[in-house]
Structures are given as C-alpha cells and as structure tokens.
Symmetry: C2
Subunit: 127 residues, 2 copies
DNA sequence: GTACATTACATGCATCCGCATCTAATGCAA
DNA sequence: TTGCATTAGATGCGGATGCATGTAATGTAC
C-alpha cells in the first residue's frame, strides 16, 4: 500500500527532526558537543580497540568528508587522537583520549534522556 | 529499558539517512528538486486552498527561516506564487502554479518509489 | 621494474540549515 | 490617540554537509 510508506516516512521525519533538534540543543548547551560529534564519540566508546576512519564511516551516517572534518574538530578539541596506520600508511586510526572518554561519559545521560523523552510513547517499530 | 530507545533511534537515524540520500539524488537528478522543496510542494498539493507560510511551517520540519528560503527558491523557479494576505498584511500566502503542480505530479512517483524501496521490509511501526 | 587503476583520507567549493536579528504589521493598554 | 509588546516573515551570518577533486599509498598488469 502506497500510503502506508508515506505515513511511516512522515513519522521517521518527525521523530528525526524532533530528536536532532533536542540533541543539538542539549548536548551543545550542556557539553559543547554537536550531535555528529557525540555520535562519533559514542561509537568510539563502544569499541575498545582503535578504529579506522573507514570503519567509523560505515557506522556513522555521514559522508566520508563530513566524518573527516568531525574527527578533525574532535582532535582539535583534544577528545580524540589520530594515528597513522602501520599496515597501510593511507589509513588513519582514531581513538578516544581520556578527556574524550570523560566527555562522552558526561554527555551520555543527557543523550539518553532526550531519546527517552522522544521515544517514551513510541510504538516499537524496529525489525 | 534504556537500550531499547537507542536501538529505535539508530533505526530512525539509518532510515532517515538512507531515504534522504536517495530522495536527494533521485529527485535532484530526475526532477531538479531537493527533498525540502519536494516536501513543500507535496504539502501544498495536499491542500486545495492557499496556505499561510506559518501553516506550512507547522507541517514541514524546517525552521521558519529555512522555509522562507525554500519558498523563495520555489517562487524563483516558477513553481509557487507568494501572495499578500488581506486580513493580516504581515502574512504571506503560498500556492502552487500550474508548473508547480505539474512538477509535483511528475516527481511523486519517484518519491513514492524511494519510500517503497526503503520501507518495503519495514515492520508496521505506527501506533 | 614501469604504468595505470584503486583506495584512504583531506580539502575547495557551493549549498543549505538554524540562530539571532531586523522590519513591518498587529494587538493591547492607558 | 500614544506607547509598548507580540507576531509574520525576511535576512545576515556562521557553521555543517555533500560532491567533486586532490594527494599519497597500495595493488595489479605487463
């Protein structure tokens, strides 16, 4: 049915806009992080080992160029470190600094609180 | 449960990114429209009467300034008309031109096809 | 080895966005 | 009426994004 997709899409659109807006504001005001920046920190915190930029690219919904810049910002802020890759000198490893890990830990509750607020009454959609 | 929200959010994020990317590309290549532009046309096509800019703002997930510019672009492209509002001279009415209605009609199948592809295997989420 | 295609990441560029602000019109109170 | 707050929409500005491209490293064919 054509219309069903449209309804689902509108719902995704609405939830995305609402959540993004809140995340940007809350994370920005309280922790000086953008939504993309937090997302990258969050993925890095989820893995113990260093990640190649390309691996991050698969997990985060950003273009390769956008990710490159987000990581550059995070590095300038002292939250991540970029390191050369031994086996492939084109590659770049990224890992959290202690500051980065701390900042992520501090921002996590804020992030989760926003999700909880938006999705509290949400019907479980996922596959 | 904390983690459930996160999973839902990741799903929303993924679907949004995927759909947006495809919409932007397909609508752009085939009809010279951005996703925001199509969305505005779509809302206008859904109503018979003229719409106040503010009414559009409630339906579209854009800031007021972004909407103002989208409408400006659409007007420059000859797809909509801006008209003064009699009862409140601050207000602005927007309506589709014939070209705008035609362009929307042409782009609709493309739009729906993208949604169908992305949400084809989606479980019915809505409440 | 040389030459060419490909990959990983960085960067120039144009575009679009949201925030803050501006202008003009309206409403409301004294 | 005057004066002030509010509202509708437009716009300046800074920032983030994606696309196309650049650079350097790698792989492959010969």
């Amino acid at each position: 049915m054509d219309e069903a997709f449209v309804v689902v899409w509108h719902d995704v659109l609405a939830k995305h806009a609402r959540t993004m807006c809140m995340l940007e504001r809350e994370l920005g005001d309280k922790h000086g992080l953008g939504a993309s920046e937090f997302e990258v920190l969050d993925r890095l915190a989820g893995h113990e080992r260093k990640l190649r930029l390309q691996e991050l690219c698969d997990e985060v919904h950003l273009s390769q160029s956008a990710l490159s810049r987000v990581v550059a910002r995070l590095e300038k802020a002292g939250l991540v470190l970029r390191g050369a890759c031994d086996v492939d000198r084109r590659g770049v490893f990224v890992c959290l600094t202690d500051d980065g890990r701390a900042r992520h830990a501090a921002a996590l509750p804020t992030h989760r609180a926003v999700l909880a607020e938006v999705f509290a009454d949400a019907p479980v959609p996922v596959a």
